[in-house]
Structure formats: structure tokens, C-alpha cells
């Protein structure tokens, strides 16, 4: 049984970075297990993507393409992925954990009588089988998944979390074999577009070098006995504008808004990081006015360099988790930081 590498194209026809990372993992697994590697590509037009990885030493290339497969839509994506798996006679499938494939691959696995394990962070091989590692309980603990592949008939699908392998660089010629997917009954859903925040209001930037985390302390009463939420918002937005960093917040700050309190109005649930939010990946992270224990730590798991500013020298979550803890008033510090950044 072969190993199928499965990926989709971006709007511009290329493969996303996470897909190239997953290809590296697929190549390594194929070598470790001594199994042939095959490629399955999905998108409106996959030719550019195929040429970008044509030198990956795959035994065969398959594709599902056409206008109907351009936009991300569960019904067509799941059907396309199932068709690619069948065409490649895949025993193991490696795919990037992009939102598009994360949505459709569980259904694909079910449809084919297979199984799926998602958001894999390391992929080893043991006893002729993959040995994937993933997080449990919102990145609080990790474990290795073992499956008896004789207990099911379909493929074992594994999606690789972004940032866990180096992107593959292997351009070359490739002529994918087209796989036909009938569209009967698959177009009840119409993708109508993408809703984006205004450029000025864009404060979530996954590719930014720095993540700024705003904690609930920004909305609390300060030394003069008053809350200074408006000033806090101006300081944060000024910083974000000057550094083009991404903004995260603790759950408490987001929830204060839904409870009708006076809070930073540009924060939404999309900014939430930690136990009940996202786990962003940035080279650096600066936490301001954050207090708490484990939930915040979870939001930091994949931040490489971490610094924090708050007034509590004994802050339990910063000790052992942050590289530097500045014990200072974040209002004063950020005001001065913005001045320096503006020079």
C-alpha cells in the first residue's frame, strides 16, 4: 500500500507553506517505511503546484481539478479527496492541517472506512507503521497514537500541524493523472466569497514575527482609581500599527465584552488565545497585563521567545514560561515603546 501525500492549492495556484512542510514529512515516512510515495493534488488548476514539487521522487501524481474544486467546500473537497485516495490505493495519507483539509478529511476517512488522526506534531515510524505524536487537552500534554491497521479497511489519514517540518523544495516536471469526480448532489452549497476585516482593522496576522497578547489588566482600575480603556486601546493599536504584529487576548478580556462591560472594542473571539482559543505560532510573543495560570500558558506553547510585562513579580504563569518578566506598569512601558518605535 502506498503513502499518498494530499494537498490543495491556494487561490494563486501554488501550494501553501503548510503543504510543503507536510510533503517533507511524507517523504521521510515513505523512506522510513520503504513504501512508494504518491501525490494527490486538489484545486481549480493544479499544474503550477505540481511543477513546484515535481522532483519529490513520487511514483505517481493524481489530481482533481476544475472550477468546482477551486473554492473550499466540504462536499466537493471530501469527494475529491476520497477519489484521490482510491486512485492512489493509499494505505496511509499525509496532508497538511490547513482549515480546508481539516474540514473535509475526517469525512473522507469515514467514507472510505479509514481512520484519521489530526494536528500531528511529529511523525516517526515503528514496526512498519507510522507513530504520530499529537497534543491532548489543548496542548497540555502529548502522546503517541497507535492503531491496529488490520482493524479497518480504509486509509489511515494523518494531518500535520503547521510549523513541524521544513518546507520541501523539489521543483520538477510532473504530469498529474486526472481523476474524475462527478458533481451530482455536491453543489447544494455555494461559496459566495471571503469576508475580511478592513486593512486598518486587521489585527490578526498569522505570519507576523510578534504576537502581542492583551490581558484583562488593560481594562482594570489603575493607580488613580479609574479604568483607562480608551487610552489602552490607543496604545495597543498604535503598537500594532507600528510593528505589524498580531494581536491575541485572554478569554477573560473577550468575555468581558459579551457581558456588556467597557472593554477594548476591537477584540473579538477570533483574538482569543489559550485554553479556549487558538494556539498561534510566532517567533516572538509579548504578553501585557496577563495574569493567570495554565490557560495562558497553553496559548504560548508555540511561541519561541516570550516576554511579559505586568505588575506582579510573582506571576505564576510567567515564571518558568516566559524568558523575561518586566515588573512594570504596561501603560507606561507601551507608551514609551511606541515613542521609540515612532522615531
Amino acid at each position: 500500500m502506498s503513502i499518498l501525500y494530499l494537498a490543495h492549492t491556494d487561490d494563486n495556484g501554488s501550494l501553501p507553506k503548510a503543504a510543503l512542510e507536510a510533503l517533507t514529512a511524507a517523504q521521510k515516512l515513505a523512506a522510513d517505511l520503504g513504501r512508494p510515495l504518491k501525490i494527490g493534488l486538489l484545486g481549480a488548476d493544479v499544474q503550477q503546484a505540481a511543477q513546484s514539487i515535481g522532483g519529490c521522487n513520487a511514483e505517481a501524481f493524481f489530481s482533481v481539478s476544475g472550477e468546482a474544486f477551486g473554492p473550499s467546500r466540504y462536499s466537493t473537497d471530501a469527494a475529491a479527496c476520497a477519489a484521490l485516495c482510491s486512485a492512489a490505493e493509499a494505505g496511509i495519507v499525509i496532508a497538511p492541517a490547513t482549515l480546508r483539509l481539516a474540514r473535509c478529511l475526517p469525512g473522507t476517512a469515514y467514507r472510505l472506512g479509514g481512520r484519521i488522526d489530526t494536528n500531528i506534531t511529529a511523525l516517526d515510524a515503528a514496526d512498519g507503521q507510522p507513530l504520530p505524536t499529537r497534543w491532548y487537552y489543548r496542548q497540555r500534554m502529548s502522546g503517541q497514537v497507535q492503531r491496529d491497521t488490520q482493524s479497518f479497511s480504509g486509509p489511515w489519514i494523518l494531518t500535520l500541524a503547521p510549523g513541524c517540518a521544513a518546507p520541501a523544495e523539489c521543483p520538477g516536471q510532473a504530469a498529474p493523472q486526472a481523476v474524475d469526480v462527478p458533481l451530482d448532489g455536491l453543489t447544494r452549497t455555494t461559496v459566495t466569497g471571503v469576508k475580511q476585516p478592513n486593512v486598518d482593522a486587521q489585527t490578526i496576522r498569522p505570519d507576523a514575527d510578534l504576537l502581542l497578547v492583551a490581558g484583562a489588566g488593560w481594562t482594570k482600575k489603575q493607580n488613580d482609581g479609574q479604568a483607562h480603556v480608551k487610552e489602552a486601546g490607543e496604545l495597543l493599536l498604535d503598537f500594532l500599527g507600528k510593528t505589524k504584529s498580531s494581536l491575541g487576548s485572554s478569554k477573560s478580556l473577550v468575555d468581558l465584552g459579551s457581558e456588556g462591560q467597557d472593554v477594548l472594542d476591537f477584540l473579538t473571539h477570533l483574538h482569543q488565545v489559550g485554553q479556549t482559543g487558538s494556539t498561534p505560532r510566532h517567533p516572538k510573543g509579548l504578553a501585557t497585563c496577563c495574569h493567570g495560570e495554565e490557560p495562558h500558558v497553553v496559548g504560548w506553547r508555540f511561541i519561541n521567545e516570550r516576554r511579559a510585562v505586568n505588575l506582579d513579580a510573582g506571576c505564576g504563569w510567567a515564571h518558568g514560561k516566559a524568558d523575561v518578566l518586566y515588573v512594570a506598569d504596561a501603560f507606561d512601558v507601551m507608551k514609551k515603546v511606541n515613542e521609540l518605535l515612532g522615531k
Binding site: 487537552y137 497507535q146 475580511q196 482569543q272 524568558d323
Partner: protein
Amino acid sequence: MSYHIVVCGSIVPDPLQTLTPVDGPQGPALKNEMMLPAVLDPWAGHALYEAANLAARHADCRVWLVSLGPKAKLQQVMMAVAQKAPFELVAVDGPASGFTDSFAVAEALAEAIEGIADLDRDKLLLFGGWQSASRGAGSTIQMVAERLGIVDQFQGVDQLNITDNGLEVLERIEGGSWLTSTVQGAPAAFGWATGELPEPPNNPQVGMMNMKTIMPALQKAKPAALGNGFGVNNVSLPQVVRETRVVKDMPVDDIARELVDWIQG
């Protein structure tokens, strides 16, 4: 148009608890797992509140909450959840652990849904969380829907509006944006992100009404067999502890300079 909304959601340890893995007779578990305070999974909670809100705005809608977990813990959590929104509970007795196979969980949930006597599949909107605070696989709802024959699915949903054109959906995509789609109508499945609704305040009247069905549902809960051929090994906590440099009594100007150098470095 009326809808039959089935929300899949289980219980998880309170997020504020410290979790420690231990080896149990059935595989990995959490230390003192049965003693840990539990809550409805946050994403399942968002799905439930969105379902209740949708049902309140459209005539003849019904909401079921299908939940897999140990009966005793389900009962504890339902005492609180019952006061938040009206629903009918369908309980399945089994582990709520994160160390279970999402495929087996999906099969158990789908079987329970197939057993709901009054459910009209043509009106079915399947709700659940797109993540969970336990396994966090983001795969269960899709598999439940597949077994129920639903091919119109959405994940990371933040908004669902019912219009003359059908159901308009906002799904999260990379970069803080949303994919906008329209599906012609039920049946469809929705894995909710956070939605747009706050947690509803407690309503004792709703709680009393819900408890009339919750206790019988718990008594009737069938045990779930979560299958073989799956295991999680070598479960451990991250061991890396950083040497935190605590900077006290440094002038603000110096802190700012150091931070700017670090940011720009």
C-alpha cells in the same frame, strides 16, 4: 421552515484545573479524573447556545443535546447546563476522555441520534464544536454527519443566518477572515467556533423544565463500546521550563529600549 437541531457535546475538565496524565487499566487517563470538576466543552456550549437561539426565533424547532460521558459526571454538569437553554438530553454512557478514538465516538453519537424517535432527518441541523478541550481532533462532527448522510458541512462556524435563499454561513479561514457560503437548506452540519452569543444567564424555570427530561434520559443512557485497535502511549507533560529573568526596579525608559531592541532584533 422549522428545524430539528441536534447538538453533540460532551464534558471536559474545568479549564482552570491542572491536569496530570496517569496510566490507568484502560490506558492513559487524568489523575483524579472522576474527581475533577467538569464543564460542558466550551465549543459544544457555543453550539448549544446558538441552537437555542435559532430555535427561539423559528417556530416548531426542537433542540436535542446528545452527550457521551460517564453518567454521574453528566448529571453534575447538566444541573448547570440545564439552566442555560431549553433542550432534550440524549445521554450515552461512556468515557469522556480525550484519549479515545474520534471514529468510535462518532459512531456512538450517530447511533444515539439515529435512535431519536421524533427526529425528522429532512429538517436536521447537526451542531457541535469544531474543536474540544479534550481530544481536540476536530473530526467527530464530520464523521457523525457522514454516517447520517449529510454532505453539506461547515467547520469553524461563527455565524448562521436563515434567509429566503437558504442558510448563510460564516466559517473561519486562515488569517482572521471568514469564508461565506450559502446552503440550500437542511440537512447540514455545523462545527461551531465561538459563534457570536454570550453565555446565557441562568434561568431556573428553564432548568426545572429541562430536568424533567434530563433525569429519565440519564437513567435510559445506553453504554457505548468505543472499539478496539486504538491506543495512546507515552502521554507526558511538556518538560521544558524556562529560566525566567525577572526584571524589577528598571526604569521604564530602559525597559522600553530593551523591548524595542528585542522586537527589532
